[in-house]
């Protein structure tokens, strides 16, 4: 490579786990440094924010952006980095589909504030004080960003070129992406940088195409370590979830909860899971032909279907919000 690539990392509404995932590539970071200059990485380097604004458009070759969009500041950074980057990668489930913090879309801002600042058991707040964007204190005025009512994915905010799924993305997928970048072999724009297969395809557990009649929760049953969890009645999202993680949750006898996002042939994880469950629960009809009764019977067995099937993808899903009150 004649010229070094310019790479940036940024975090918006993120738990920090995606940043840790970058550190988890360990020695591989030395390969990255060989092919690229890191021009912006707030968590690890003291950087000049103004320098980003002063960069010419498309100055950065690739920006890895993790976290979702929850306030005005993050929206600003998403737009700025989009403008300054040739390629923008939505890194991790939050940027990709909204992830667990995206479950906040089940409630609106007022409900969240009420719980956090008033109802929480340890609060001592008789006057029901709540944060405000502008507060006057005796020395002057204090401002904090507005708390958006809705969690948005990166793709709902700006144009995204690639998606690296996972919460956080598995190290293997990150290093594959780095290799593809180094060799100039990135797939077509819009691709998800993960295998096309489902987690089930990476899972060593034995499947016998057994039907189930009862659903168990993880604390209710110690599963047989060699057999498919789904066929033992424990809901496992491996059917409908994109692989790449090496079925790591299954390594410790826990079901896949779907952090890898939907498999390519499904519009979304939830829809895929309902189809899969219908078949394993013995509703032998073509998807799309279930009666309301069929679906209801099935759903009755599942506690909190939204939180289960859309644990990582509510903001991106066709459900969007349960209720959009404001």
């Amino acid at each position: 490579m004649s010229q070094k690539l310019k790479i940036a990392f940024y975090w918006a509404a993120s738990c920090g786990g995606c940043e840790i995932a970058v550190l988890d590539i360990n020695e591989k970071i030395l390969d990255v440094v060989k092919i690229a200059d890191i021009v912006f990485w707030p968590v690890a380097m003291d950087v000049k924010y103004k320098d980003v604004e002063n960069m010419p458009d498309k100055y950065i070759d690739i920006t890895f952006f993790n976290g979702s969009i929850r306030n005005s500041e993050q929206e600003h950074m998403a737009k700025l980095l989009r403008k300054k980057s040739k390629t923008l990668v939505a890194f991790g489930s939050c940027a990709h589909e909204g992830c667990i913090p995206g479950l906040a879309n089940l409630n609106n801002r007022d409900e969240i504030f009420e719980q956090v600042y008033v109802k929480d058991k340890s609060n001592v707040n008789p006057k029901a004080v709540m944060p405000k964007t502008t507060t006057t204190v005796k020395e002057g005025t204090l401002k904090i960003p507005e708390f958006y009512d809705t969690v948005k994915t990166l793709g709902q905010t700006v144009d995204v070129d690639y998606y690296l799924p996972g919460c956080p993305p598995p190290v293997k997928l990150i290093s594959n992406a780095i290799d593809a970048i180094a060799q100039g072999k990135l797939p077509p724009k819009g691709s998800v940088l993960a295998p096309l297969k489902a987690v089930c395809d990476e899972c060593p557990r034995k499947r016998d195409n057994k039907k189930i009649t009862k659903i168990y929760r993880v604390h209710e049953k110690a599963p047989d370590p060699d057999r498919c969890l789904m066929e033992q009645g424990i809901i496992c999202m491996g059917f409908a979830t994109r692989s790449g993680c090496g079925a790591q949750c299954l390594n410790v006898d826990m079901p896949c909860t779907g952090c890898g996002g939907a498999t390519p042939n499904q519009p979304e994880v939830g829809a895929g899971m309902i189809t899969a469950l219908a078949s394993i629960l013995g509703i032998d009809k073509e998807p799309g032909q279930y009666t309301d009764e069929d679906v209801e019977k099935l759903m009755n067995q599942i506690k909190d279907p939204v939180g289960t099937f859309y644990m990582y993808s509510l903001p991106a899903s066709i459900l969007k919000r349960k209720v959009m009150k404001k």
């Binding site: 975090w11 918006a12 993120s14 738990c15 920090g16 786990g17 995606c18 940043e19 840790i20 550190l23 988890d24 360990n26 020695e27 707030p42 968590v43 690890a44 380097m45 003291d46 950087v47 000049k48 103004k50 976290g67 929850r70 500041e73 993050q74 950074m77 667990i100 913090p101 479950l103 906040a104 969240i112 719980q115 956090v116 109802k119 929480d120 058991k121 340890s122 609060n123 001592v124 707040n125 709540m130 944060p131 204190v137 005796k138 020395e139 002057g140 204090l142 904090i144 708390f147 956080p168 993880v218 604390h219 209710e220 949750c249 410790v252 826990m254 909190d304 939180g307 289960t308 644990m311």
Partner: protein, 483 residues
């Protein structure tokens, strides 16, 4: 009145924004650390399946998911009225040690340590992990990368995934440890003991060997006498996974010792309008605003809080170093920068304890889960790297979550961090003179806490460089500093 805004703070896991107000003489009048976001876990976890809580709450923080994972499952153990088998508890504790090895290493070398190793006056672009490598050498860097990864590896073996582990279930843990994995963990842990010793040596040589740094640690700008909180075992030794919560007063005398289930009697949270985070305090004393000393309910947690609140460490090498620290600085230590030293003593303890647990014959037992009872209410407390972490859930009869309360590690320190920033600013900024070096020293005051504001408000982590705006009394911006 002039206003200086530090927005946001670099190299800390989270996102804070500091406003410093100067009076007409250019002296610091007050400082505010604002937390700009909230995520609402306490709300959206309601209605979810109880057994998912240990996984849902890990997403509060990707730096300390292990602590959330276990505080959460301990709350569930209590809510389901089930005692996990002893092997399960030991496996949880072992994984927690792996997390401390990784997290304390991360902080010392990547986040807070650069201030000391490279130096507080070094140019900003050098005060980072790359600067540390330059100063300490590539061999050191390799050891650092290796052992941070070892900590993660221990977590991944037991937890399935290092970041956002999945192994915790009410009544135990999902999988037993194989003999092969046990051996591997023992090797990683033994190597980590050597690494912790070596890190302490670096600290002694570079920091304690330099009287300038020692003076800085002891200086007024970085000193604050508060209450201290931490979890201790039956002998009042520091324990990360289990025990009673002990609080000592500013003179070091035991003030409280309580069972996790009684936390609401002792800890309250105060709300202010100008920030999304809350301010915990000791109820017995009350919220007296941003004040310290015995009459203010403000307490501190985290490495220094735990060491101050304890009578020692349960492993020999860490205990020896504990004695050195208190011999050097007196007990309790009120110097905020001593958090760094305390953190390294804990790194050593975590590694030593991991070796003990890995060698425990029971650790590979397959008796790792007990059957949960009827769902109800439960409280779980563990020590996260950054301090005491409390999860409290109420479940309905179908074991669905009905109510959630959490007091997260860094939040406990939030009142103290605000004051540390204010005091450092007061001690360092005079006559309206503000430059990068001074601002970094102000930042050092809170970097010492290793604050993780992602945790503090269960809000989103986000970080941008430092912006300082100076306003004159007519609110005209007269100066902007950025880096």
């Amino acid at each position: 009145m002039k206003e200086i805004v530090i927005d946001p703070i670099t190299r800390l896991e989270g996102h804070g924004n500091v406003s410093i107000f100067l009076n007409d003489k250019g002296e610091v009048e007050n400082a505010y650390l604002k937390i700009p976001e909230l995520r609402g876990f306490e709300k959206f976890c309601i209605g979810r399946r109880a057994e998912l809580m240990p996984q849902l709450t890990t997403r509060i923080c990707g730096v300390c998911p292990v602590a959330h994972h276990f505080a959460s499952v301990k709350a569930l153990d209590a809510a389901f009225n089930v005692e996990p088998p002893s092997a399960a508890k030991k496996l949880r504790e072992l994984m927690n040690c792996g997390y401390y090895i990784y997290d304390h290493t991360l902080h010392f070398y990547y986040l807070g340590g650069p201030d000391f190793i490279v130096g507080p006056d070094a140019p900003a672009e050098k005060r980072n992990i790359l600067g540390v490598i330059e100063k300490a050498g590539l061999d050191v860097a390799k050891e650092v990368i290796k052992h941070r990864a070892y900590g993660q590896k221990i977590t991944a073996i037991i937890g399935g995934k290092a970041t956002h582990p999945v192994c915790a279930i009410p009544g135990g843990i999902s999988k037993a440890l194989s003999e092969e994995n046990r051996q591997e963990i023992e090797t990683l842990a033994k190597s980590s003991v050597e690494f912790a010793k070596f890190t302490l040596k670096i600290f002694h040589d570079l920091v304690l060997g330099n009287s300038k740094y020692l003076d800085l640690i002891k200086s007024d700008a970085y000193t604050m006498n508060t209450y201290y909180m931490g979890t201790v075992d039956a002998k009042n030794k520091v324990n990360f996974y289990d025990g009673k919560v002990r609080v000592v007063d500013p003179s070091g005398k035991e003030f409280l010792k309580f069972e996790p289930k009684d936390y609401l009697k002792h800890v309250g949270e105060h709300v202010e309008e100008w920030t999304y985070s809350k301010f915990p305090y000791l109820k017995k004393i009350g919220w007296k605003g941003f004040a310290y000393g015995p009459d203010s309910g403000v307490y501190r947690v985290g490495p220094l809080g735990r060491l101050n609140a304890s009578d020692g460490m349960a492993t020999p090498l860490a205990q020896a170093e504990y004695e050195v620290m208190y011999k050097t600085l007196g007990k309790p230590v009120h110097g905020t920068l001593a958090f760094h030293w305390a953190r390294l003593i804990e790194l050593l303890y975590a590694a030593e304890r991991a070796v003990e647990l890995a060698k425990d014959p029971e650790i590979t037992s397959t008796n790792i889960r007990n059957k949960p009872g009827t769902p109800g209410e439960g409280i779980g407390i563990v020590e996260a790297a950054r301090g005491t972490l409390i999860h409290h859930y109420t479940l309905d009869k179908d074991a669905m979550v009905k109510d959630v309360n959490m007091i997260v590690a860094t939040t406990n320190n939030y009142p103290a961090i605000c004051m540390s920033i204010r005091d450092a600013a007061k001690g360092l900024i005079h006559g309206g003179k503000v430059d990068q070096g001074i601002l970094n020293k102000v930042e050092m005051a809170f970097r010492a806490y290793d604050p993780c504001f992602g945790c503090a408000t269960h809000f989103a982590v986000g970080q941008m460089p430092l912006t300082v705006e100076v306003f004159d009394s007519n609110k005209q911006r007269i100066q902007t500093l950025q880096r």
